[in-house]
Symmetry: C3
Subunit: 208 residues, 3 copies
């Protein structure tokens, strides 16, 4: 393997391709979560599918970081590449964390509002996906970031309402513990999309 | 807008001014939280006030990071500026997270000790405020950092005592869940002041 | 003190020595935790011992970061040194967080499986220790990282099983809250070993 040559003459495009692949995969994870919540049957099988998507995400992140560490000249700031890749991966990790908790907590029925919250995540990963696809040309990057921020606020409002309802209505403390955590983890997944948007905005400003 | 000129000839002072404004605003948030806990009435109105302060904080942080990304020469390490601004903002986010949970959890009465914990946060944000005001001259920076560390230890002790009491005395698991989280979130807010102190110390050492 | 000379002619070895000392100390903490769980008596005394180890860790981390901020030329990337030291310290902080919660929650009897989870942490800190000891020569660094990753997966599986069992078997919600958190905090300690491995891998790749 011509390692040194690779280092001196990196294919810059590879980063953009890997970012696109990573973002598409995250969106795939959110799509599978919404599908699971809207078709709540064969739960273990559907959750396993999300776990498989998450493993693919780990590999893509690993490939990207390995390439980063072996590359001298990067298309934009090394630190931002690292940060962007990690934050995108966080979204998928948390999507998987929600799915796996449905099995671990032995959840039989999805609470009202929870699929709505997952659909906000799905809209947000769709914006992340579009933004990442336009990262090289930086077309409309800021518009996607603004929309991700708006969705995060919407997710925040919905999750607060759901938590307040839980404390108001749920008399079984064990059910309360389960759903409080499920809502919180899903909300953090949406938050992480905003972290992605913040890195994208920084990249955009630096290269303006 | 003379963007390029702005980039080449940055007003370095702007960073120090924005840091001071950010720290004053964080202290304002902690002041409002202590006021709320000491005068526990019109809760929703007082919590809204803290939310407004938090929004101002978001804008100040955004301004600072935008300026950072548009500036070539920074008064100290780019990474430390970013880190400092983020950590200071975290303190306010968590202050707001405490306040909003009082509404979400429908808390009618403040538990003994909780206002004391908030007063430790207030003392700590006061030190952060003073340190940030002296950032440019680096007067007494280390003394403020040492005091912030001392306050963090005090907060840690108090919150551990409160959690132990909760598990010992509170028989209603739902109340336990609420107050365990309120104490933990407030303690993390105090922790984040220590993170601010750590960045300040690093900045001070590098420029010694 | 010949500060400037120190800055220009750093003893590079000092970093490797401090990293080794830090990793040995983290391993000491995990060893003390396993001992506590396997010999669950004189709990407060044993927990205090772990707290003392954690304080030593804080001092070692502080020394390392102070040296870093005073050094111009570092043996590898400044950012990676900072990151590595922080992540290693996180492992010990979380080990201490587990131990102190046993006192705060007034735990009288250790639940089945919990000592097994702590033994996974111990195996993992042993790998961290060996990797750090070989950091300068980079002997077998990747093998240690692979083993740390494998242990993290094992810890993840065990902690998920334990949480599922808790929700299945534990009828007392207060006990459930205590043990859910104990398992989660211990699992995060194991996760942090994987974060250490990731930084080690990055360092290894950059210097390959």
């Amino acid at each position: 393997m011509p390692g040194m040559l690779n280092k001196l003459l990196p294919r810059e495009n590879a980063f953009f391709e890997l970012f696109t692949a990573q973002a598409e995969n995250v969106h795939k994870g959110a799509t599978a979560l919404v599908h699971l919540l809207e078709n709540y049957q064969n739960v273990a099988v559907q959750v396993d599918k999300i776990k498989t998507i998450e493993h693919t995400g780990d590999e893509l992140t690993h490939d990207l970081l390995t390439r980063l560490n072996q590359t001298f000249i990067t298309p934009f700031d090394r630190e931002d590449i690292h940060n962007l890749s990690s934050k995108v991966d966080d979204v998928l990790d948390l999507t998987d964390a929600v799915a796996s908790r449905l099995v671990i907590y032995n959840v039989h029925k999805v609470r009202p509002g929870f699929a709505d919250l997952a659909r906000i995540l799905l809209l947000s990963t769709d914006e992340v996906r579009k933004a990442m696809g336009n990262l090289e040309q930086q077309n409309g990057l800021m518009d996607h970031c603004i929309e991700i921020n708006r969705l995060e606020n919407e997710g925040d409002r919905l999750s607060r309402t759901m938590i307040a309802q839980l404390f108001d209505e749920e008399k079984d403390p064990v059910e309360l513990i389960k759903w409080k955590e499920l809502v919180e983890v899903l909300e953090i997944a949406i938050d992480k999309c905003e972290d992605v948007a913040n890195v994208l905005e920084a990249v955009s400003l630096k290269n303006a």
